[in-house]
Symmetry: C2
Subunit: 339 residues, 2 copies
DNA sequence: CTGAAAGCGCTTACAG
DNA sequence: CTGAAAGCGCTTACAG
């Protein structure tokens, strides 16, 4: 046990003003980079700030200015899932990097399922000037009404029926899925199965739609469609089930590389050869795509860039600029060994 | 392009007071759960809050109370490293879980190398009531003086020469390394190499010390000691170098499972059998330890629990409670196939 | 149990 | 270029 040392009081504007022999208004002007301050007053203030190690109190500043200079990145997933999915890491990285070059701070909010209302209150309580929302599930109504109170930008199309304008940065998931499926069809395969993503998310729905379009365009019917949750475990399990049920297929499209990774493992365990027996493609060009056996042919999206754009759009909106509601990013077909 | 819709103004205490027909003081009391409010006044206020969807402004509250009800978790690593290391994920998870059960919010701060001063200013600017600091490098002096301004709790011993009281949650790294090394020695191995961690961190230094102690206690001398950075890549590279230099060893202790994972790959590539030719152990019982070939015998620390304890101690300190400066957590030897 | 009033530490027209 | 003063939205003794 130790004794509680007294907390050193933080220097205030007032103290700086006294030491510099000017008014608080002048100190405030120096701190905020106004040019309407004479050189010697500025010098005195700057020295006083240094001597007192003064840092402006954010709460006071926020209250006076009506802005906080910080934005939130909300991930409505639990912590375990957040860390397991390389997609999140990349988006955070991109956003963090962009924000680092601005006057804003990025606050990462993992809204645990335990109390989503806490996050909503935080957002509504004037802690941030705007919010980035990732991985939005339709059932999650938490943010539906926030759009009218706070600028927001979504990563991935929301399924919200919200009346407000919704700003989204996304890829064309339908086209991406169509393209990945066509790679399989081009191999001459005719019995195509899909392991789809959650159907309460735009990305989950749209990738299924794209698969169906490609299959039908080729005059075929899907051999099987199963719904997973984007994780390797779900891909593995679903593939085991398909094999166990003797489903007949020679092509497989998975809505995420993570699920593809799991499915590939299950195929290998069953002695089914890829791509000889089954041609496989997926969406996401992440570490799972690269480290699977064989490496996956995928549609690359660029989540780091997505995070960057999201942050850029949000900050522009906060500053009153007009930005497009929809930003659709390009994707890229990456040919590896699984197709 | 879209038109900028007008932002709906957030309801204020004042508005709630008017609608409920009471003073602002009474509204404040209801919001803060004071019991000195008559039932009917309370009812009226609660209804007004509901109707106006009122959420207290945090900045104003912070300013008035002198506290923010939020704490920061600072990780002085870049985003890529943060996401690559399962240790961080677990600590965050533990801390987030503990904080979720309190009135506090957890803010995750990835202090990019780009501008560490920004983080310091944030911490000093009254944004949070306290800070958790992870993975502290000796060279990083950013937080040295913050301890007198803000309650802080470190994850892992700091090498700071700071005069303030320092609160740390850690394992006994020396004992852990000694124990892991003794497992190898018990196999009758006499030529022990170590891949150590960064020597500017407590965990890096102490695990090397423990290794040396165990080796000397057995009347031996280390066969080789190389310094890595805890990542799989560094373990892989160092092991390639040892093999390339024909270093003669029959035992290997790595300061992290990640480095052990990489070293095991390099050993396999060189056709060296584990544990037949080389007996290997490591610290950290994470996904790398479990998925390496063969699975690693390790000393498990419990980072999730560490995060929990860190958060608990910090919040207690904020609330003025006395807590011990040092919290040393137990570890556990996990026997797998590599020793 | 309740309200009037001061105060938290800033910013920002306004006047000079 | 500079300062006095009002105001941001809360909380909290103080008085009743």
């Amino acid at each position: 046990m130790s004794t509680q040392e007294p907390r050193k009081p933080q220097a205030t504007l007032e103290l700086v003003a006294q030491r510099a022999g000017v008014s608080r208004a002048t100190v405030s002007r120096v701190v905020n980079g106004s040019d309407r301050v004479k050189a010697d007053a500025r010098k005195a203030v700057e020295q006083a700030i240094r001597e007192l190690n003064y840092v402006p109190n954010r709460a006071a500043r926020s209250l006076a200015q009506g802005r906080t200079n910080s934005i939130a990145l909300v991930v409505p997933e639990n912590t375990a899932k957040f860390f397991a999915d390389p997609y999140f890491a990349k988006v955070v990285q991109g956003a963090a990097q962009y924000v680092a070059g601005t006057e804003f701070m990025l606050t990462l909010l993992l809204s645990t399922e335990s109390d989503p209302a806490k996050t909503t209150r935080y957002l509504q309580g004037g802690n941030v000037d705007g919010a980035l929302v990732l991985s939005h599930h339709a059932a999650d109504r938490s943010y539906a009404d926030l759009g009218s109170l706070l600028p927001m930008v979504y990563g991935g199309r929301t399924m919200s029926t919200d009346q407000n304008e919704i700003y989204v940065v996304d890829i064309d998931n339908i086209a991406a899925a169509r393209q990945a499926t066509e790679v399989i069809i081009a191999q001459g395969r005719t019995k195509l199965a899909m392991i789809a993503g959650p159907q309460d998310m735009g990305a989950g729905l749209d990738r299924l739609t794209g698969f169906q379009q490609a299959v039908r365009n080729a005059g075929l019917e899907p051999a099987a469609v199963e719904i997973g949750d984007f994780t390797p475990a779900s891909g593995h399990q679903i593939m085991q089930r398909l094999i166990g049920n003797n489903v007949d297929f020679d092509g497989l499209f998975t809505a995420s590389a993570q699920m593809g990774f799991g499915a590939l493992q299950a195929l290998a365990e069953a002695g089914i050869k890829v791509p000889e027996d089954v041609s496989v493609t997926a969406v996401d060009d992440d570490s799972f795509a690269r480290s699977s056996t064989p490496p996956l042919t995928t549609i690359a999206q660029f989540p780091e860039r997505q995070g960057e754009i999201m942050a850029e759009l949000l900050i522009k909106r906060i500053q009153g600029e007009q930005v497009p509601e929809w930003s659709i990013m390009d994707t890229q077909l990456v040919l590896r060994d699984s197709h």
